[in-house]
Amino acid sequence: MSLSNEPFQLPEIVRTPSRFRNPIGKYRLHRTTACTACGRCVEICPYGVHIMKRGKVYIKNQYLCVGENCPRPCHEACPENALSLKRNPDFDALGDFRWPADLLVSTWYMAEFGTTPSLGLEYKVGSSGGGFDKLRILMKKKTPGFDDISDDDVDVGVVLNRRNDNAHRVRIEVPFYGGGMSYGSVSIATILSRIKAAAALGTFCCTGEGGYPDELKPYDDHVITQVATGLFGVREETIKRVKIVEFKYAQGAKPGLGGHLLGDKVTPGVARMREAVVGFPLFSPFPFHSVYSVEDHKKHVDWIKAINPQALVSVKVSTPTDVDMVAVGSYYAGAHIIHLDGSYGGTGAAPEIAKKNIAMPIEYAVPKVHRFLTEEGVRDKITVIASGGIRTPHDVVKIIALGADGVCTGTADLVALECIRCHNCESGRGCARGIATTDPDLMQLMEIEWGTQRIINLFIAWRKELIRILKRLGIKSLKELVGQTDCLVHLDYLKDRSTV
């Protein structure tokens, strides 16, 4: 936070291994009884896969094996031919087009070590066959003067208030903050891990719709509270507590559709937070039933400003075909931040037909909005935040080059907490891995300190990678990258394929 003059101190990386006994890697090693425990494999493996214990050799960290990419393969060096290597079938059963197994496993790696994986894992792009996954960053072959500048001299922070009005002069130290995940959709341990990590990283995290739990009080300066269509948990007091208030008009995972919390899930705790009746279902309608025009929208923004004159107002919208008009309308209504939420994100359950079809991909929405705001002459007066499918630091660079100022993350945070993307967030007792659940037993599966450090590690790795890329682009400040589409090429339209 920039409110004090103390320089921002980046938190430490602390190695934070998996909560599970057997982390999943790409390869499996098999050791036969021919092994004589000569220790050759322990000696040569650069990744600490093998260990020697009481005169016996064990495979300890199988998940760190880089397989065919290994410069000193143990299975070739073994004098007894006792070792064999094959692909791990579990790895191949993981993931999807957006988050292939490689991205999941490399995100887990970053969350453990705070650095990008060295070999054999594709951590930059997924395999959706379009958008981010077909865009490539154009790096300079030589960047004189950039090779030996310190990471601290590259600025990846973002100033969120560009109106120069009375609101807080908020700056985030990394170009991302945590997207809204409500109390109820994820566990309190997940919420606290995200918010504590956000505080440590000098950024923010949003509460989502559903209230502002008291446990978050110590982090008020890093909380964004959400005002959504159901107005659940919105009070004057919570609006006054924070520096940023977010209006949620729509969410990318279910654009145009309302939310529905089943009666069973309205427990006494949830009911208290949402000021509702225990056991009765709650609808969060679509859209705001009091907003049918920009003027109506302005009334909402003014209302927030009257209660908390220094608050920044963010407007979170989905990506319809007229998203550019919506963005300009939000600017004229007085918003500081326009937050565009594309459809690949989201944690709660949503109809698949909605996720797949309704509204446009974020990679289209951002350049459209950037262009329109620029033509309107107001681009430098509003901050554009993109979310919904930002999986890697490379996605961050691409979307900023397409015209965003920064991004919101959500799924990436959860993957750091070892979400495996089984897509069963809301079935039965909720997340079996204890992340997106309020089941008392399942919540025990994760501890706040562990979760906080995993998220910190992931984003330190992202930050390092962003700085590396900026240096290769010959840029010292991320803000110079905004809208610089000439840093990108699209593989489908590339003229000279020989350069790939």
Partner: protein
Amino acid sequence: MPSKYVIHTKPVPHRFEPITKSGVIAWEEGCLKCAVCVKNQCVYGVYDHRHMDDRQMVDSIDNQCMNCFRCVQNCPRELIHKSINPDFMVMGDSHWTPDTIARLWYQSQTGKIPVSGAGYPGPFSGPGFDSMWTDMSEIVRPTRDGIHGREYISTTVDLGRTPKNLVFTGEGEMNEDIPPLVHIPIPMMMRLPRFGAVNDQTIKGWVMAARHLDTLLVLPQEICSQYPLEVQRHLVPSIGTGFKKMAPNKMTRMVELIWDKDWDKNIEVARYSYPSAIVAMRFPLSQGVEEDIPTALDAGCPVIHLEGRMDGTTLDQPSQYIKDGIRRVHQALVERGIRDEITLVASGGLAMAEHVAKSIICGADAVILDFPILIALECRMCRRCEKGLSCPVEIDQADSKWVARRTINLMGAWHNQLLEVMGAMGIREARRLRGEVGRAMFFEDLEKDLFGTLIKVKEGYELE
């Protein structure tokens, strides 16, 4: 306002264990017999009632596993693994994908919309309908919440010719008879799939479903005539060459002819035999079909059925999809000023609920479904039946009531999904969705505009 059309669904169990995407491999050898085994900790209780289906050799855990990987990741001897099921991956083809088939099974079994968490996992875009997105409204277009029932969205469509204008006599009486219109409460009709281990019981089940849903089922004429007259209200006899005049049947509301060399002879026979029916003409969806449509209209066929291939392409051009074909025909008819006199009905490769909405946006009034109602009966699209081999899921043994209930569940799930997308678009009537390309976004427009210029690798640069 008519009372709200609701398709009541209830779970209808499958007869065969579905093929799952991945399976659990749990070795016993080397087991430490831990006091607290990871299998007992399964959140979903998958291992609690584990059994083997002897007939199909399917382990129940494969179907119940929800892929949380906790047992895989916690067994101290690493004896449990997940593995992709090759039987799943080879199902169907590139259009009727394993995932599409599995989702159709799910909807037919539960009657529910497929819902999942954690964002959209699929490809960026794809061929055919996968290269378009539907729109939604943010602030300025109020929408309706169709499923949760607070507002009314109509999915009714009309089949037949609407006159361009009404003509009155000097006394204010209507000068001509209004041509007949058939209203169906959902823009979805059904017909027999081109292959399938289908028998009388199966067809009877589909007939029952068509009646229950109050929609239409297209069947060969000789099959229609076997059903009682009151049932024939919901059947569309398909008439081919060789059909002879028969005693007039006044219950039938629509008949279908095929655009072939004998069409003009058949139309006469059809008119005589089905005097109160609207005549539909089935055209192959190919280049230039829009040139022939006015001829059919003039001859008295106001319903035009555009038939694509089962893989969703048009009949003569593999690179053209029915999405493109429907748009082209719709646009041509609009330009000729005859679009409102014609009802366009599309078929071929419609495999998901979104294809219904997208067909209508592209310009169809309604669609005809074939293979989805077969896959509702657990069909695996293995096409053994085409070779005269036995059906692995014994569709020909299925009871007609089961067939009807599975079909109703599928249509119920699709109807609700249509309401979802219409609600998001702020459209209250399926009739008004027709040709509304403004409520859609097309890959070819957006992609070229936004990414088409990102083409150059400058000197001294390289890609990452």
